[in-house]
Every structure is written in structure tokens, then in C-alpha cells.
Point group: C2
Chain length 370, copies 2
């Protein structure tokens, strides 16, 4: 608690640098052990400062979720970037600008987008075909070999595009609650992706299978047949990942520090300055089915820890207000002017709205803005 006093006056996203670097190094080592490329997704931290910690861990290739994010990191000398999002044709000028000086890897999942790229690409890019392995968000159905073949052939004949391989995001692992469930998902789709590789990679010696959501990369030890992994959230982890089992609560590297502005003992609630514009509105469900927008921690000399016993939690958020459900002893000891800390439900979204971090040792780290 000492570290906080006199410095924090508004909602502030606190980053435990050593937990964060541990998370990075653990994943980098797992990738090395598996002999797969580690191409972490930078959409979680969106920060050139934190990007450098990855560079120190030997990372050279990255993933981002938008072309503007690619531009931001290209400006910080990341020279091999995959935009893991169906290519946005309207940004063709930015694509050509970026592809002139970095290795730019894009995602396609239909012939229409490919036709457009063929007509408008002035620089060479690499194209992954996005494959839907069961999440049903984007991508070509993994069993639709006819459509996949049509796209691969078309890429093979494109003047300014090379075939990079098949890329999948098994986002449905987020609905699992343990290693067994996550493993079952990988055991279902990864052999199918390998079969696709066997069928189509012959003429493309550099083509590879790219996978890697945070639950799979955290809970599983091997990724047979994959050529690269792209986890993102693991850099911070959060309540959602702790609920899945991807991390321990002590691996979570960010906490949102919020000033207390009111205490209501009669309804066992504390009001904090910290709402939807600070946490975002992602939520988790408690065992009794009620909503939970963040787990309260207590400050320690080194940082924070989860309290013993009945933990206070954020039961509701409005634009700037957070409503904390808190029993004893909290409700009797907390007062306006105190600062409470909360583990975010979904750290990617919380970081995105906060736009900066403050490390436990007081360094200010900015995120990209446009």
C-alpha cells in the first residue's frame, strides 16, 4: 500500500513488471522447447515499451489485430508482422505503404478479397488462409477442402502475394474450464490442420500452420504439427484466464487502482471511481449466477495479493462508477480517499480503454493512440 500513497489520484492501471516478464519468458521457453516460432499477439498490451520486453526475450515476429497497430509497431522497428484479422480492403494504401518496408502477413478467407488484392497490391505480402476450427467467428470451414483449395491455388498464381499457410484461432477454448476441455479442442482440430498441410504445403516449403489462443498455449505442453504460436492475453492474464485455468491468480500482472469515493455500510457496498470507461464492460459470472466485473486485491509491500476469505468484488459498473460488494472487515475499514485494486476480467479490453500503465516502481508506459 505504501507504494500507492500520494501518487495515484485517478483510476490507474498498475503493472507488475516482473510478473509480466515471467509470463513472457515462460511462453518464449515453451515455444523454443516445441521448436515453433513464437509470434505473440500485441493487441493485449499495444505498447512499444512492453514490446521491448519481448524483444529482450528473443522475439522478432509479432501479431497485431489491425493495420494501424501494425504501423505503430513497424515504427518501433518490428519488421515481420501478421495482422490476424480478415484483411480490410479499404486500407489498401496503408497495406502498400507498410509492405514496402516490413514483411507484412495478411489473412484472407474469400476469393473476393483476393481478387481485390491482386488488382491493388503494389508490394509483396504473404497471405495466410484463415481457417475456422470451430469458433465460427471468421475463416473457411476446416472441412471445406474445395473452397480451401480454390483459395490456395489463387494465391499461388498471384503476382504480389505468397502463400504463408493456414492460420487458426481456437477461440472456443475460452468456454472451457480446465486442461482436459482445452486439450480436447486441440486434439480435434490440429490433426485436421496437419492433414491440410500435408495436402497443400508441397509446393510451398515455407508455409506453416499458425495457431495459438492463450488457453491452449498456457495449458498444453505440445502443439504437434504447428509451425508457430500467437498467444496474446498471457502477457497480463486476467480473471477470465484464471477461471479457465490458464494461469494462477498470482500470474495476473495488472490491477486497476481505483479511488474510494463513498462507503455504504447499510448495503455493504463501496463506491469507487472506476467504471465502464476504465474496466470496459466485460464480465464474469459468480457461482450464484450474479455478475462480477473485477476481483478486489489487497496491497502488499511488493504489490498485491488476493485476500483470504470472502473477497470483495465489483458487482456493477456504470460509466465512471464501480460498485463493490464488500463484507466485513472491508466495509468497516475502507474510507473515501483510500485506493482499492481490482484484477480485471479481461485485461485486453481494460488496457485498451486505459491507454497507459504505471509499473509498481513508478514508470509510466504509454500505449498506442490514434
Amino acid at each position: 500500500m505504501v507504494i500507492m500513497q500520494g501518487k495515484i489520484t485517478v483510476p490507474t492501471l498498475i503493472l507488475d513488471r516482473s510478473k509480466c516478464i515471467d509470463n513472457i519468458e515462460r511462453m518464449a521457453e515453451k515455444a523454443k522447447r516445441n521448436n515453433v516460432i513464437f509470434r505473440p499477439h500485441f493487441k493485449t498490451h499495444q505498447s512499444s515499451g512492453i514490446g521491448r520486453w519481448f524483444r529482450q526475450a528473443g522475439v522478432e515476429k509479432i501479431t497485431v489485430s489491425s493495420l494501424r497497430m501494425a504501423e505503430y509497431f513497424a515504427n518501433d522497428h518490428w519488421l515481420d508482422i501478421t495482422v490476424a484479422f480478415p484483411v480490410n480492403l479499404l486500407e489498401i494504401d496503408l497495406i502498400n505503404r507498410l509492405a514496402a518496408y516490413i514483411q507484412l502477413n495478411l489473412l484472407v478467407e474469400g476469393v473476393e478479397s483476393l481478387q481485390f488484392l491482386e488488382r491493388h497490391l503494389r508490394q509483396r505480402v504473404q497471405l495466410f488462409v484463415k481457417v475456422d476450427v470451430g469458433t465460427h467467428r471468421t475463416g473457411v470451414d476446416i472441412d471445406d477442402h474445395v473452397r480451401l483449395e480454390r483459395i490456395v491455388e489463387r494465391i499461388a498464381n498471384s503476382r504480389n502475394a505468397g502463400f504463408a499457410g493456414f492460420l487458426a484461432h481456437a477461440g472456443h477454448t475460452y468456454r472451457e474450464r480446465n486442461e482436459t476441455g482445452v486439450r480436447a479442442i486441440q486434439d480435434n482440430y490440429l490433426p485436421k490442420l496437419r492433414a491440410l498441410g500435408d495436402k497443400f504445403f508441397g509446393p510451398f516449403p515455407d508455409a506453416l500452420i499458425s495457431i495459438g489462443d492463450t488457453p491452449s498455449c498456457s495449458l498444453l505442453d505440445t502443439f504437434p504439427g504447428a509451425g508457430e504460436i500467437r498467444p496474446g492475453n498471457f502477457v497480463f492474464y486476467d480473471v477470465m484466464q484464471a477461471n479457465i485455468g490458464s494461469c494462477g491468480v498470482n500470474d495476473i500482472a495488472v490491477v486497476l487502482a481505483c479511488p474510494v469515493v463513498a462507503v455504504h455500510p447499510e448495503r455493504q457496498e463501496i463506491v469507487v471511481y472506476g467504471g465502464g470507461v476504465h474496466f470496459s464492460k466485460d464480465r464474469s459470472l459468480r457461482p450464484d449466477g450474479t455478475e462480477d466485473y473485477g476481483w478486489m486485491v489487497e496491497w502488499t509491500a511488493q504489490g498485491w495479493q488476493l485476500p483470504e476469505g470472502d473477497r470483495p468484488f465489483l458487482r456493477a459498473l456504470s460509466q465512471e462508477h464501480g460498485i463493490v460488494k464488500a463484507g466485513k472487515p472491508w466495509i468497516d475499514t475502507v474510507k473515501p480517499g483510500d485506493i482499492l485494486g481490482f484484477l480485471p476480467i479481461h485485461s485486453c479490453m481494460t488496457a485498451d480503454v486505459m491507454k497507459s500503465f504505471r509499473t509498481l516502481d513508478g514508470e509510466h508506459i504509454e500505449m498506442m493512440r490514434f
Copy 2:
């Protein structure tokens, strides 16, 4: 549609200036008719540019939700500002800085905060006592006259603080679905607030009752006993307000324009570049209980309109992806590179994450940032 082509390449929040000004003028006239101060809440637009449209409608006093927002608008010459949020004691330096050159009105709901202010205020401020009229988010219970009296007396004896009156936010109107429900809420609490005024305002000729959520201010014609109204969301409205009945769909002044990046006829879905970092994650429920993150509109020569028949809607959002459920004819005609527009569920949160607007006639309007 013509207005969009060749200009918009990424998710962009489009503002219909004439709808917005109509919303402002309609509310300003209603306040005038009722002889109440119109002190609009600027947390929805957070923009000095849009603030000037209010000035043109005769507005001189405003509401904000944070001290930093007060500072932003004070810098644009708004000189009478209420921060409608329990006072954040940790920002006492900013409070003193602001109160030196504007009329700053703050909210208290407990004696602890008042004691702190007495010790640390170096400039005069006005204090509203926040009253809980049934929302149970913040404030002193409206029936707890003992506690209310203790706070009013303490303010009366404070050296640097004046008693401004009682302030309430009937946020539980957001759970209603028509005028009758919203009226029942006002009919319940407003007489109680008047009784509080009768009991406590004697020695304070300038004290007043401040109310005014958007549903009440939109659906009701009179506010008997209130001295001022503070609606905010009405400046743009949104799907949530249309569902309550506060506005017609045609009064909604903002639409988020999103590039199409993939089309999946086999599951009747369109993928747009436009996710939780653009819309925020506020959602509405459809009649069948499924989630809805935005209503699709169709572009017209003048702006946009709701399509006839089965309307496409956003069934899910992830960080950058929006998944649109769309039947015929949409699924057959929409293609990558098109731009689709969506009415946001909660415009305050959407504006907050987007941080700027583009008017239909192409003007770029910035919001506050820190």
C-alpha cells in the same frame, strides 16, 4: 451511401449534426417551459465542439462526471460546472485549482468526505448532497432525514463550502419500458425531494433540487419542484433509449460505420471491422433473449435509416470483430470493402471509446483525451 465512399477506411463514429442540434433544442425548450435550469451532462459527448452547440442553445451551466472533464470544459470557458460524482478527495489539488476560477459544484454523501474538504479546501465550492431515490448506486437514502440533516448542518457551518441543494439521479428509469413506468418513478421520489426542500432550504435561498436522467427528461413533460435538470444521453440517444421509449429511432444522432471484412452466407453472417474497442460491450437483449450489440441501418442520400423487415444486427463483439446476423437480401449483396452502419446500444460508452466524431458533412470533431 455516396457520402461515405472513398473517405472512411476504419471504424468511424458518424454524427448527424442536425439530429443532434434538434435533440439539444428540444430539451432546452422543455427546460425553459418548465422554468428549470438546463444543466446538461456533458459526459456523453465529452467534446468542446459539441459543447458549443449547447452554448448556441443558451446553455451556460453544465454537468460532468469527473474533475478532469471539468478541467477540460473549464478550459473552453464553461464557468459553472457540477461534477455529478461523489467527490474524489485524492484530486483535492485539482479541486482547488478549478474552484479558483470557475463556480465548481461537488457532491457529498458522507461526513468523512466533508471533514476532509473542510480541512483542505482553499477556494469556495458549492456542495450538493447526493440523495439515493431508489437506484441504490450512490447517495444518502431519501428517507434518512437524520443523516441528511447532519450533512446539511455540517455544510452550513463550513468555511469554504456552500449548500447547493439535493441532487438525485433516478437511474432505475433505465429499467422501464414506457412513460407510465418512468412517471411512476418520478411520482414516487419527487414529492419526497420537495419535502426535503421544504424542510431544509429555509436558510438557503439559492438551494435547489437537481434531477434529470434522460428517460425522465425525455418522456415526462413536467418536473414539479425541481430547480434544474441534467440529462446527458439525449444529445445522441441510442438503442437503449429507443427501447425505453425516450426517443424514436430517427432521433438517434450517431451511427458507427464499420468496414465489411468477410461474408459467410452459409451461416448468414457478415464480419465487420468494429468490435468491443469501438462499440464498447454494452448490449441489449432481443425478444428471443439473445444478445444484441447494435442495430444495422442502411445509408440514404441524407444519412441513414432503419431498414424495413428483418433487420441485421450485431450478435457478438470481440476486440476488433463484429459479427452481424443478416438474412436476405443483405447476405447476398454485401461484400468485403462495403461499409455498414450500426446504431450503438449505449452511445455514451461508444463515444468514450471512439474519442472522435465525423459529421455527415465531413467535419472531424475531437473529444477530450488524457
